[in-house]
């Protein structure tokens, strides 16, 4: 099909660059410079989709972000599918594949449309709340069918081949919108030397100037645009961002811009410089000193009967298609308006050599310059009239124009049907106030222009409005307003600016519009043919009236009940008409009705773009120890602990977790194992009050810990609940090294700082994280001493270097601090070296350990071994409701310490002193081969019917290769006084595991093995 609607001349398209694309499987041609919408209109495509609720045929209405109907599926391949692309904002590229998002079997022959016609009468707003209730069991079935009708486009089913990224911008002045006001503002501010960003959602800068019939300095306005843009490009501190929509205006003048960098080139981003992937979209995260909001205004359509039939368009959009794209979306135009500006469309249409059947102006006696110009060119201008109804199925065939009384909402003449194929309407202009309201600022109604403008609001936005958004519509005034805004914005950020030269504009008389938010019909609204307010959601004037009749009186209620403004256009087209209709039906004024809240985004933003590069391998840091390469080379499986990757176990060929762990456990118990313990938090503490500080933050006493010794400590929060634990060593009188759990390292340090900085600044102490500086490897097992002795100059004599002490010396030629502490219950040495040298030490230990069958072990084996000893893991055996006494660790509570340390008062509250609290005990399953699931709930009476009385749960549970039976740790109500009693774990499969309550220390209760 040729481009039947393409004009032979004019427009900013490049007729020498034809581009082929497909829509719903048909191949078409457009030109470089087209939007997809322009190209579809050029090819005479009338029906672009079907409406959401009634499945009525719909065509293109607008030329920009306010388009409600032309919402298409783009993409030729599964992984590049993009749902819900507005054809008016998609540049045409060669090979573009587009399709309608609904309509079955096709948009032109849609079976749902028949259902819509028949059932439509039964689908007023909120109909679904009133039905599908009986019988209750059937809702899920109803829902299944309702969901079949859901949605517009579809998500791809394969992963996105494209990447997206972010950039952080800081500027003195952010100018939003590069129409006449924005260009002027950017120029004024940019010339001052201020850092300026100019962002505009369109493919090129210029806004309305790209298609206006008005002149500047007697020349086409686009020439002025080109001159300004050329100068802006020479200013080093000015950043120009076309195809970039400012979508969110957040607190403290932080804004987000969604830049579509390659969507005009194809459905997936081509490789860029250095053959690197280019980001398809980029989000600019902008902190702006001042914002100049020059977002323009959206034209409102008139709301008349059957105003959704394809061929009903916005007047301004018709001009845009004609003048910017060289496309005439019809032959015979009827124009309906309530204002002067729309007359430009009639003139543009005439200039294109096409027929204007009539202009229907709701005003009784319009005499503006453009009106007179239209009259002078022989066009029939019907005053005091409007289009009140339209005829046509998939395309407008005729429009009925009649005299109306817009105040009384009456049709006052029989009117006449005028044959036409295009009805262009204009109901006035709504400033694009969205961004100005993102922080809650309420727009203000201006009766003189019949529109909401951005309110002074609450002063939270450092924002200056310019141009149409500010209610300034005359071109000369708009540019002057832009210059003023730019100068002011620069001045307020410390730059001296002067306004640019105002280009000369045409002199003319412009007259005010009159209010016309719904065109009357002979029949009452409820009985008239459908008058659509929100096209995407099939919201009609009758629906809005019904909502108010049912008591939905707040604007938010009306919105929610009718779905007005819930579409992907977010009500840009219909909201003002809708709330005016609601106001009228309740007998209140528009400002009394108010607007709904505007929230980001102004237009939809790709998920991937919001996520940026923070996905896949960059989703979150993976933290590694210095021995990571060795672990990987030796087949470790890893466990996520916080952000760390820790070796979980080291399977040998054919081993599963259980086999590997059994082997690793036995190796430690019988010979020697090695663990990478580098991830434990380590905090260097220096200062004369270090000891006092420890006394205050640990539950136990630190006054008497000698230099050279180490001690285990528990930490509680002020509520007395255990929060972290670890061993702290006294390195010198005023010098300690604290260890924390892996996951707790950062929060413990922060907590120490909190108390030091806010409560006890008088204590002389400094905390420094040395977690990353030290690498730690634990040798554990009866042969650890022999092994270590081979590579160290430290005297390992058991009396000279006893349990819970530390020594300095060389290990494998590297200076080390060695701690004789044990988390396995075996003779153990924790070797700490500067992390840069750790891999070498580790490898030498592995080499030297061969003769002892030195076995690397992971966290799982560590967990089993420590559990055999009854050592807790904070976070596994505790949650935030466990006191030291609950853990049977009263020995670690300094009940007589003079200072009321953190946690002491909390653990002495009434509820913490109950005798029947859940207490940590050991469990020995009666069947030694059954391993209790970790987390399993416990009961005393397995015969009780549901709900059962739960008395605790299993916190840790393993099969012990050493002991040859399963065992567990658990918290049980009053458990410490129930030794020898039975508990039961009723499992999901119906079985019950029975276990005896025993001491939580299963292995070597006297601690003889670690103390040799």
């Amino acid at each position: 099909m040729s481009q039947v609607n393409r004009l032979s001349r004019g427009g900013r398209i490049d007729r020498s660059q034809p581009l082929t694309f497909t829509f719903n499987g048909e191949t078409y041609q457009g030109y470089a410079g087209d939007t997809l919408a322009a190209a579809l209109l050029a090819n005479g495509v009338d029906v672009i989709g079907r409406s959401f609720k009634y499945s009525r045929p719909r065509g293109i209405v607008a030329a920009g972000a306010e388009e409600p109907n032309a919402v298409l599926q783009i993409g030729s391949r599964e992984e590049t599918q993009i749902p819900n692309v507005r054809a008016t904002q998609q540049a045409l590229y060669s090979g573009l594949v587009a399709a309608s998002t609904n309509g079955w079997p096709s948009v032109n022959n849609d079976l749902m449309g028949i259902l819509g016609k028949v059932g439509g009468k039964m689908m007023p707003p909120g109909f679904y709340y009133k039905t599908f209730m009986y019988p209750s069991s059937l809702w899920m079935t109803y829902e299944k069918y309702i969901r079949k009708a859901a949605g517009l486009g579809r998500a791809p089913l394969e992963n996105d081949p494209d990447i997206y990224d972010h950039i952080n911008q800081h500027c003195d002045v952010l100018v939003i919108g590069a129409g006449p006001a924005g260009l002027a503002a950017a120029l004024a501010a940019g010339r001052s030397g201020a850092r300026v960003i100019l962002a505009d959602e369109q493919e090129e800068f210029g806004g309305s100037l790209l298609d206006t019939r008005e002149t500047l300095d007697g020349k086409p306005a686009a020439e002025w645009v080109a001159k300004v843009v050329a100068e802006l490009k020479t200013l080093p501190e000015v950043t120009l961002l076309p195809r970039a929509t400012v979508n969110g205006y957040h607190d403290h003048n932080f804004l987000t811009i969604h830049e579509r960098r390659t969507d005009h080139l194809g459905e997936t981003a081509p490789l860029g410089a250095f053959s690197a992937p280019q980001a398809r979209h980029r989000v600019h995260r902008v902190r702006a000193g001042r914002v100049v909001l020059a977002a323009g205004a959206h034209e409102r359509p008139l709301v008349y009967a059957n105003n959704d039939v394809p061929g009903n368009m916005l007047a301004g959009a018709v001009s845009t298609y004609v003048r910017r794209y060289g496309v005439a979306p019809g032959k015979k135009l009827v124009l309906a308006t309530n204002n002067d500006y729309a007359y430009r469309t009639a003139l543009d249409w005439l200039d294109a050599g096409l027929q204007v059947v009539a202009v229907a102006d709701a005003r009784s006696n319009p005499r503006g310059s453009w009106v007179e110009e239209v009259r002078s060119r022989g066009v029939r201008v019907l005053t005091g009239s409007s289009v009140i109804d339209v005829r046509g199925g998939k395309r407008v065939e005729a429009a009925r124009v009649a005299a109306i009384d817009p105040v009384a909402m009456k049709v006052t003449s029989p009117g006449e049907w005028l044959d036409c194929d295009l009805v262009a309407s204009s109901g006035g202009y709504s400033p694009v106030v969205h961004l100005a309201s993102h922080l809650g600022g309420r727009p203000e109604w201006r009766e003189d222009i019949l529109a909401f403008v951005p309110g002074e609001g609450n002063g939270l936005q450092k924002r200056i409005d310019a141009g149409a958004v500010n209610g300034v519509f005359k071109l000369g005034d708009v540019i002057a307003n832009g210059f003023e805004a730019g100068v002011k914005a620069a001045a307020e950020t410390g730059f001296k600016a002067t306004a640019g030269d105002l280009p000369r504009t045409e002199k003319r008389v412009e007259e005010a519009a009159i209010a016309l938010f719904q065109v009357p019909h002979e029949k009452p609204t409820a009985r008239a043919p459908k008058q659509f307010v929100d096209l995407q959601n099939d919201v009609t004037a009758a629906g809005i009236e019904l909502a108010t009749r049912e008591g939905f009186e707040s604007v938010e209620h009306v919105k929610r009940y009718t779905a007005l403004g819930f579409g992907t256009d977010q009500g840009k087209l219909g909201n003002i008409n809708g709330l005016a209709i609601a106001a009228r039906s309740m007998g209140i004024s528009i400002p009394q009705m108010g607007t709904t809240m505007f929230r980001p985004n102004y237009t939809p933003v790709t998920f991937g773009a919001v996520a940026g590069r923070h996905c896949g391998h960059l989703f979150e840091p993976k933290r590694y120890t210095a021995m990571q390469a060795w672990h990987v080379a030796n087949g470790a499986e890893f466990e996520d602990v916080g952000q760390w990757k820790r070796p979980w176990y080291f399977p040998k060929k054919g081993e599963d977790l259980h086999a590997a762990v059994a082997r690793e456990c036995l190796a430690v118990r019988n010979s020697v194992g090695i663990l990478d313990a580098s991830t434990l938090g380590k905090i260097d503490i220096q200062g004369p009050d270090a000891r006092e500080f420890l006394n205050r933050v640990y539950t136990n006493a630190w006054t008497k810990l000698d230099v050279g010794k180490a001690r285990y400590g528990l930490m509680c929060k002020e509520d007395g609940m255990v929060f972290d634990d670890g061993v702290t060593a006294c390195l010198a009188d005023n010098h300690f090294l604290m260890t924390t759990t892996t996951g707790g390292a950062a929060r413990v340090l922060q907590w120490l700082e909190l108390y030091h900085q806010t409560e006890w600044p008088e204590l002389k102490v400094y905390f420094t994280s040395v977690t990353d500086h030290w690498a730690t490897m634990t040798l554990s097992g009866p042969n650890s001493r022999k092994l270590l002795a081979e590579v160290t100059d430290i005297d390992l004599d058991k009396d000279g270097f006893p349990f819970m002490t530390w020594k300095e010396g060389n290990v494998a030629g590297v200076p080390a601090r060695v701690f004789r502490i044990s988390f396995t219950g075996e003779l153990s040495y924790e070797v700490n070296v500067q992390a840069d040298y750790a891999l070498g030490v580790w490898e030498k230990l592995i080499e030297a350990g061969k003769k002892y069958d030195l076995t690397p072990y992971g966290t799982e084996t560590m967990h089993v071994l420590r559990a055999e000893k009854g050592f807790i893991i904070v976070g596994q055996d505790t949650d935030a409701s466990v006191t030291p006494d609950d853990l049977n660790m009263g020995w670690c509570v300094g009940r007589t310490k003079p200072f009321s340390w953190i946690g002491w008062r909390g653990m002495n509250r009434e509820d913490c002193l109950r005798e029947d609290r859940k207490q940590l005990v050991g469990l020995k399953p009666i069947d030694p081969l059954k391993v209790l699931p970790e987390g399993a709930q416990l009961v005393f009476d397995p015969k009780q019917s549901i709900p059962m009385t739960m008395v605790g749960h299993v916190t840790s549970s393993y099969m012990s290769a050493t002991m040859g039976h399963s065992f567990a740790m658990a918290v049980v109500k009053g458990g410490l006084k129930r030794m020898g009693e039975r508990v039961f774990a009723p499992l999901a499969d119906g079985s019950v595991i029975e276990a005896e309550i025993v001491s939580s220390v299963f292995y070597d209760p006297k601690g003889e093995r670690q103390n040799v």
Binding site: P83, N84, S136, W139, D160, G248, R549, F607, I946
Partner: protein, 416 residues
């Protein structure tokens, strides 16, 4: 009350829907009520409804500063579940769940309760332990719950990335199949209509600006439309509870934070259950209109602005794309914020207060919507008798003094 049904809809279509009645009246406040409920959100309206319907207290007013259901009821992500860890909360939420199951019929308003299954993903060994603990507790409390392994999760949730390549590979999940979603606005409107029909006065656009007290007991509320007397007052003003407490002269163990959510553009159904993840911090479901409904954790600072900070939105969508890489090209339509009253143990406060005859129901944190019917029911029972309903008793303010907290943090670190 005009009864709703498919037949009624057909009948009204013949008269062009011109004869539908108001869903609720716009009454002038009476001088005095037996019970005044402050806050016309889901919980307040449910309280009023059950007071009138089940507890025979019909002289009731709901005083709402804005529009009915305009607070968190209008801003949440509509998830319904009852799989809580501790007995006290599990029983309360399960009470709500049972009411959800017959709610549309009870109030003759389709709230679209859709038990499509709620999955909580496990990404670490500790997640798995915690999940076993919770599911096991649910089961023994008579609440449905299953723990799935990674293969089962992959089979049940299409398009979820269950590979080992993710930052935090999925190890399993819990599922509560009776859990799901409901239509949030419909809950408020349905309760409002039913309460109105039962005689409750719904007084909108009227803000409570003080509590009038006599001898240490409340005797009514001062409002922007004057004094309204009451024998008992129930405050259910999520997001503003601290402010109400201040007006009443005491403090609460509550801090109000922004909680953000967002929706995509409507797309064809692709997510047919509710999927939540603590570790990557996001959750997602899809509405019957096709919008992906997405949320995450709260912002760290106190805030009543009904908006939060942008990085929270970024982190949330990073989590969603990490879980469902195919959604990367889908687009976010709108974001918004609610105000959540967070309590130290992530459990609500349903309690008497230092002021006699003044009751508070607050502190639901991120989980209030799902409790709406149960919360309203037990609060109504308490307001009717002046004594706390047994299910409400553990949630009294005293627990913050005795230390008997009900710590649900472990079970739900992510907002929902």
């Amino acid at each position: 009350m005009q009864r709703y049904s498919g037949f009624g809809l057909f009948k009204h279509s013949l008269s062009h829907h011109e004869n539908w009645q108001r869903m609720w009246r716009n009454p002038t406040p009476k001088p005095v009520y037996d019970v005044v409920i402050v806050g016309g959100g889901g919980h307040g309206l449910a309280t009023a409804y059950y007071l009138a319907k089940e507890f025979g207290v019909k002289n009731v007013a709901v005083v709402e500063k804005g529009w009915l259901g305009g607070g968190n009821t209008a801003r949440n992500t509509t998830i319904v579940r009852s799989n809580y860890l501790w007995d006290e909360s599990a029983q309360l939420y399960e009470h709500a769940m049972k009411l959800w199951e017959g709610l549309s019929q009870d109030i003759n308003y389709n709230v679209m309760y859709s038990p499509r299954g709620v999955y909580n993903l496990c990404h670490t060994l500790q997640d798995m332990r915690d999940s076993e603990r919770r599911v096991s507790a649910n089961r023994l409390n008579g609440i449905d719950g299953e723990l799935l392994n990674a293969e089962q999760v992959a089979a049940e949730i299409p398009y979820l990335d269950c590979s080992k390549n993710t930052r935090y590979p999925i190890m399993g999940a819990t599922v509560q199949r009776r859990g799901g979603v409901a239509r949030h606005d419909a809950v408020a409107w349905g309760y409002a209509r039913a309460a109105d029909a039962a005689g409750v006065d719904l007084i909108q656009q009227t803000e409570v600006i003080g509590f009038r007290k006599q001898d240490g007991a409340v005797i009514g509320v001062e409002t922007t439309r004057g004094f309204i007397g009451a024998k008992r007052v129930g405050v259910v003003t999520a997001g503003n509870s601290g402010h109400m407490a201040k007006l009443a002269g005491f403090r609460l163990p509550i801090e109000s934070h922004p909680l953000q959510a967002l929706v995509s553009e409507p797309i064809k159904p692709i997510i047919d259950s509710v999927i939540m993840s603590n570790a990557v911090h996001g959750y997602i479901s899809q509405s019957d209109k096709g919008d992906l409904v997405i949320g995450a954790g709260i912002d760290g600072y106190n805030g009543y602005g009904q908006r939060g900070s942008y990085p929270t939105i970024e982190h949330t969508l990073q989590a969603i794309v990490e879980m469902f890489p195919i959604l990367s090209r889908v687009r976010m339509n709108r974001q918004w914020g609610g105000i959540v009253d967070t309590s130290p143990d992530a459990c609500p406060v349903i309690s008497k207060t230092p002021v006699k005859n003044l009751f508070f129901n607050c502190g639901w944190g991120t989980g209030g919507f799902k409790a709406t019917p149960g919360s309203g029911h037990v609060f109504a029972a308490s307001l009717a008798t002046g004594e706390m309903h047994p299910l409400a008793k553990p949630f009294a303010l005293e627990r913050f003094h005795t230390g008997a907290l009900i710590d649900e943090h472990g079970a739900a670190a992510v907002a929902h």
